[in-house]
Symmetry: C2
Subunit: 329 residues, 2 copies
């Protein structure tokens, strides 16, 4: 059956029937606005993303289920980067009336699966007709105890720079697809099924370990630069310390230029945080408890020193920002 | 200058420079998520909308400034319909790199003007490249004292049905444009510059007058039906009581079929609420205080009676739902 046969209101009813109740939800889908309650002493954290077919995703490279998961995961990743707990989710979807209802159901499955995995509940959204491509808007509301959320502006000279997981896998998978090749399943999943580091971000924030934090969506060079600018500091990254996965390393040996993907490839959705040097061991222990290894990749340097990369021979050179700008290509 | 010359980050910086601080905002634009505080004893109300060029608006029928205002106004209208106070606004915008920066500035002007007029502050959003048409997502967070927000499920038999302002003006303006005609300025503004009834909704809710409330985005026939279904009741509307503007009445005399636009035309963004019969006078007084007249147009009837229209001769017939379904046209 196609969406034009089902209709907008039956689609909303079908989604609504699949969402349960949750703590703090007084009204969910089906009113003019959701009505929610925050835990006492907590602040609200909100982030919104817009995702467009053929700009952010291609339905021939991802299943509708994975698309639903990833649309939510990248949004949850912003709450993780603040050290918050995700709570209330909103999804807007525009697609054509010719869309198969089964494909929409798979998308909604993905949305609900990802949300449930991280403690969030779908409480609202919007649906409308698109002349063609899918358009997705996702908004997440999370909470953090007052004074515990971590911004980008608290990094201080001497702090260690830590990143979670491994970098560049997602960009490598994408590069292989773009060349008409098929990445191995593990690498492909790093692109199609990123895991937001929610428990890790929360653990680091609630223990007061992170002085600044950001999620790596555009690549470490670009995202760390946001912290440097907001905090008014510089940083030095050690090339040999950048964490790489075995599949990434295997290809890197044959193609050394792939290292750029680890620095500026984007879509890692790992966390980067700064931690006082004396507390690095504590932070690494939080990573171990969460099952997500943290690697110390460098240090924060004084204002005016910029972002530098130290290579294996000890040579230091400026690390050029190579992040993705949507309007300049 | 075109957007591709300015770039995404300079665009965000320019918008950020124009947003001030506000009560409850710990972090606004420029971090992974906004960090906000609700007034004690208040609940969070959230609504999100997706607006697409050529589906929801045409840039040849509206200025970018009016588009920015309206995108925010229709979203604020959802908070008005809950009886809440709008507080924190998020706007996502996708457009092509060829877009003139001056047009974007006018759009942002409109967004900020409308938000400021109703006490909301822009604290986040997203920007990305669109292959062509403009795509806008708007999310508003509001607050209401615990127990004061008004949903769709509280209408009871015997309650009066009240609507604010006049109905059908916006749909009439649109119909004239679609016929290649030019509506008079007052009528055109009812379409391009809808005024969300924020103070009115809040006044009705905080006085505990409204048992159910909704904003008229799809037409009274469709929107009242949502209240009837959520509340498990019916309703009877008196045709002669439907409030019409002088310009609408003037055209209606020549074309009686235009009355359908007042019932099912959509985009009025007036409020419809149900009020216990004994408190109608109090509700009308709230309307007067807010400078937005309320009209009693009918009454809630018992479950199973459906939605009926009583004409001037006293004949009653079912009022067919003619609301807009995005996927069935």
């Amino acid at each position: 059956m196609r969406l034009s046969e089902l209709g907008e209101f039956r689609l909303i009813d079908a989604i609504r029937a699949r969402t349960g109740t949750a703590a703090g939800v007084h009204r969910g889908i089906g009113d003019d606005a959701a009505e929610l309650e925050l835990p006492p002493g907590h602040r609200l954290l909100t982030s919104t993303d817009l995702l467009l077919e053929d700009v952010h995703f291609r339905l021939d490279w991802t299943s509708a289920f994975d698309l639903g998961r990833k649309a939510v995961a990248v949004n949850l990743s912003d709450i993780a980067a603040m050290g918050g707990a995700p709570r209330f989710l909103y999804v807007g979807l525009a697609c054509s009336g010719a869309t198969e209802v089964a494909q929409l159901e798979a998308f909604v499955d993905g949305v609900l699966t990802e949300a449930a995995e991280h403690g969030a509940v779908l409480v609202g959204g919007d649906t409308c007709r698109s002349p063609g491509p899918w358009i997705i808007s996702v908004t997440i509301e999370g909470t953090a105890p007052a004074g515990k959320a971590v911004g980008r502006d608290g990094a201080r000279p001497g702090d260690a720079v830590l990143v979670s997981g491994t970098l560049g896998d997602s960009a490598l998978a994408l590069a292989l697809w773009q060349q008409g090749l098929t990445p191995e399943p593990w690498l492909a999943e790093r692109h199609t099924r990123p895991v937001p580091r929610v428990a890790l971000g929360r653990g680091l924030a609630e223990a007061g370990l992170a002085t600044a934090m950001i999620d790596l969506s555009d690549g470490i060079a670009s995202d760390l630069e946001h912290i440097l600018q907001a905090s008014g500091v510089g940083a030095e990254i050690r090339r040999a310390a950048v964490p790489l996965s075995p599949p990434f390393r295997a290809r890197l040996e044959r193609q050394p230029e792939l290292f750029d993907l680890a620095l500026g490839g984007g879509e890692d959705y790992e966390l980067l945080c700064t931690v006082p040097a004396a507390r690095v061991a504590e932070a690494l222990a939080v990573g171990e408890r969460c099952g997500v290894p943290l690697s110390a990749v460098g240090a924060i340097t004084p204002a005016g020193t910029g972002l530098q990369l130290r290579d294996d021979a000890g040579t230091v050179r400026p690390l050029r920002v190579r992040g993705y700008d949507h309007f300049c290509r």
